[in-house]
């Protein structure tokens, strides 16, 4: 049903004012609800739901099948020739080329390109755009990096029963090989299964030694010949000297005879500088230093007994534990003894008595290491008991510099061959210390705990970077020292020389003073002895009388002092101003 309203107006009524009137509401349409329709709907609890009108998407993961790729190159062959020209036929190709060259477009384009190219070529020749305009300051000031060292390799004793690494020696030619002497130094600890072998290791291969040296008795020390890198000489536990040639295998080439060798283990053996390059000398705790010629090992060429009384008496001889020889001073050498003395000797002396030049009394225990500074041969380093000491040859009484008493025993030391102020020490708690005397004197510059067992030997390679140290269980560790500690710093030599000078002078002054005091004492004691002889004429005084006299002396001295103080007190007591000070002055 359509509801329509029609509005009509007479034309004449247009323009006439509106006359509004009220009338009551009229109900036009009433549509009652139809309950039957309600059946078609279900009432539901209202809830919120968001909807979005967009395309539906979903996420998937796909794994492609394995794709094998290969790198290929392309080889260019001649091509592009038109069908009628055969590229292999020279005549045809030449003819084709000539044809093209005659073509006008060719000529025009080449002329044009030629001028362009010419421009660029000249440009290239005029300026080199890659020229270095600002010369870079090449001196990169290396920042003070903390000193460090890192372990490169550990060479372990391949035998079941572990022995101590008692001595290490670097191959003289480049230092690619390391010879290590293994021996059990503890008295009567060696068992039957103890292998007497010593090994030569290649530093690149820590798994297996390169060569095994098989002497009759374990080696205590070992040295490569600096002139001939194939030969080695070693001193063994039973006192014999053994000579090897690595080209001839593991068995020794020659052995010294038992009667003429040392009677105690040979603790140190060093090659000498000689024309033939076959001389070596060895030291042992039996008190002898023997010289050998390796061509004839049945008898030593020379013998020196380390008797401080200079009589060659073997009973009173000092046991030698370390030797020192510097190739630049071939006539002098030094021996470190078990008793703590360093004996300086001259090889070229006429009589055996003159051979021993002087002694330096330094340590409380055996001197395990003795090494001259390669840059300042007048100064040498000794290590024994709990300190390391630096000595100057001129000062006999004491060392010029020494370290503090360390926590554990020092076993070995050596100077760095590249830096005059750096030396290395090993201790019984497994610590390797690197000392830089110019940097710090109280403490080591770098302290590394290499292993848990005691370290017994130490050797620095000639380049100053690699250090090998051997421990009690037969593990030789190879360490690399950081470049800061293994490169020569500027002014180092002069600074160190100045330091040594200063310390030497100090010691000299102290020594002079000591001597003065001693002289004074002696002269005083001589005088008092004269007086005493007068008194003694009455008879020897008995102990009680001596005691009584000592007591008297003591009391008289105390009385005198007290009287003196009282007088002073009374004097000062008069002036009131000084009373305040008095309180402080009288510390009775």
């Amino acid at each position: 049903m359509e509801i329509v309203h029609v509005y009509t107006k007479l034309r004449s009524e247009f323009g006439r004012q509106y006359l509004f009137s009220d009338r009551p509401t009229e109900l036009l349409v009433d549509i009652p609800p139809d309950p039957s329709l309600a059946m078609q709907f279900i009432t539901k609890t209202p809830r919120d739901q968001a909807t979005q009108a967009c395309r539906e998407m979903s996420e998937h993961q796909v794994n492609t099948e394995r794709f094998e790729s290969e790198s290929r190159g392309l080889n260019h062959m001649e091509g592009g020739w038109p069908k009628d020209v055969d590229p292999n036929d020279m005549e045809q190709t030449i003819r084709f080329r000539k044809k093209v060259e005659k073509d006008e477009s060719y000529m025009n384009s080449i002329l044009q390109l030629g001028s362009v190219m010419d421009h660029y070529i000249r440009q290239n020749n005029a300026i080199n755009i890659y020229q270095d305009y600002f010369t870079e300051d090449q001196d990169i000031d290396e920042g003070q990096e903390a000193p460090s060292a890192k372990t490169i390799n550990v060479f372990r004793d391949p035998n079941e029963v572990k022995r101590t690494v008692t001595c290490l020696s670097w191959h003289p030619d480049g230092g690619r090989k390391l010879a290590a002497a293994y021996c059990c130094l503890e008295f009567q600890k060696s068992s039957k299964d103890l292998s007497p072998d010593s090994y030569i290791w290649d530093i690149e291969n820590p798994n297996q030694p390169e060569l095994a040296l098989k002497p009759a008795s374990p080696l205590v020390c070992l040295d490569y010949n600096p002139k001939d890198p194939h030969t080695l000489v070693g001193g063994s536990y039973n006192g014999q000297i053994v000579y090897w040639d690595t080209r001839r295998g593991s068995q020794p080439v020659e052995l010294s005879s038992v009667e003429h060798s040392h009677r105690d283990p040979v603790y140190k053996i060093i090659w000498l500088q000689s024309k033939t390059g076959t001389d070596a000398f060895s030291a042992s705790t039996d008190g002898q230093v023997l010289w050998w010629d390796v061509r004839k090992l049945n008898e030593p060429t020379e013998r020196l007994v380390l008797d401080p009384g200079r009589e060659g008496n073997l009973d009173r001889a000092l046991g030698a534990i370390s030797l020192e020889f510097e190739a630049t001073m071939p006539t002098k050498f030094m021996v470190g003894t078990e008793q703590g003395l360093v004996v300086s000797c001259n090889r070229k002396a006429k009589t055996p008595a003159e051979k021993i030049v002087c002694t330096y009394d330094g340590h409380h225990g055996p001197i395990y290491a003795l090494h001259r500074n390669p840059f300042f041969p007048k100064n040498f380093l000794t290590v024994g008991d709990w300190t390391a000491r630096i000595w100057s040859e001129d000062i006999r009484d004491s060392s010029i510099m020494w370290t503090r008493y360390q926590m554990s025993y020092l076993t070995d030391a050596c100077w760095s061959p590249v830096r005059p102020s750096v030396f290395f020490t090993t201790k019984m708690d497994g610590v390797l210390d690197v000392w830089d005397v110019l940097f710090k004197q109280n403490n080591p510059t770098l302290s590394l705990k290499v292993c848990d067992e005691a370290l017994y030997s130490l050797r620095v390679q000639d380049n100053g970077r690699f250090v090998a140290c051997g421990s009690q269980i037969g593990a030789a560790t190879l360490l690399e020292i950081c470049s800061g500690l293994s490169t020569l710093q500027k002014n180092e030599k002069s600074l160190l020389a100045a330091m040594f000078e200063r310390e030497t002078k100090r010691e000299k002054i102290l020594e002079a003073r000591q001597r003065e005091m001693r002289l004074k004492e002696r002269s005083r004691s001589e005088q008092s002895r004269e007086d005493d002889t007068g008194r003694d004429a009455d008879g020897d005084e008995s102990p009680e009388q001596l005691i009584a006299r000592a007591e008297e002396d003591f009391y008289s001295v105390v009385e005198a002092e007290r009287k003196r103080r009282e007088e002073r007190h009374r004097e000062k007591g008069v002036c009131e101003e000084k009373e305040v000070k008095d309180e402080a002055v009288i510390p009775l």
Binding site: H76, S109, D118
Partner: protein
């Protein structure tokens, strides 16, 4: 035309005589080396490889801006510099050792 021919020869000779120039190769649009001062194997290599590179370079320039076109291409390497002047039908390739 013969004079033009002589001019062409003159141009190439002038380029060849410049300081540091090691070789010249002229390649046509199909990759055939027309004229060269290098040995055959090098010529073939240069012709083939550079042809592709110039095509790629040209298409790159034109893709970025269709009004643009490639005028010159220089490849500077450690040992020398390869300069390519492209044209509609031919390329002129010059290998030069830059002044040090």
């Amino acid at each position: 035309m013969p004079t033009n021919y002589a001019e062409v020869e003159e141009t190439l000779r002038r380029i060849q005589s410049q300081k540091g120039v090691q070789g010249i190769v002229i390649v046509n649009s199909e990759g055939i080396p027309i004229k060269t001062t290098l040995d055959n194997s090098s010529t073939v290599q240069y012709a083939g490889l550079i042809h592709q590179l110039v095509m790629k370079a040209r298409s790159t320039v034109r893709d970025i801006d269709p009004q643009n076109d490639l005028t010159f291409l220089r490849i500077r390497s450690k040992k020398n510099e390869i300069m390519i002047a492209p044209d509609k039908d031919y390329f002129l390739i010059v290998i030069q050792n830059p002044s040090d």
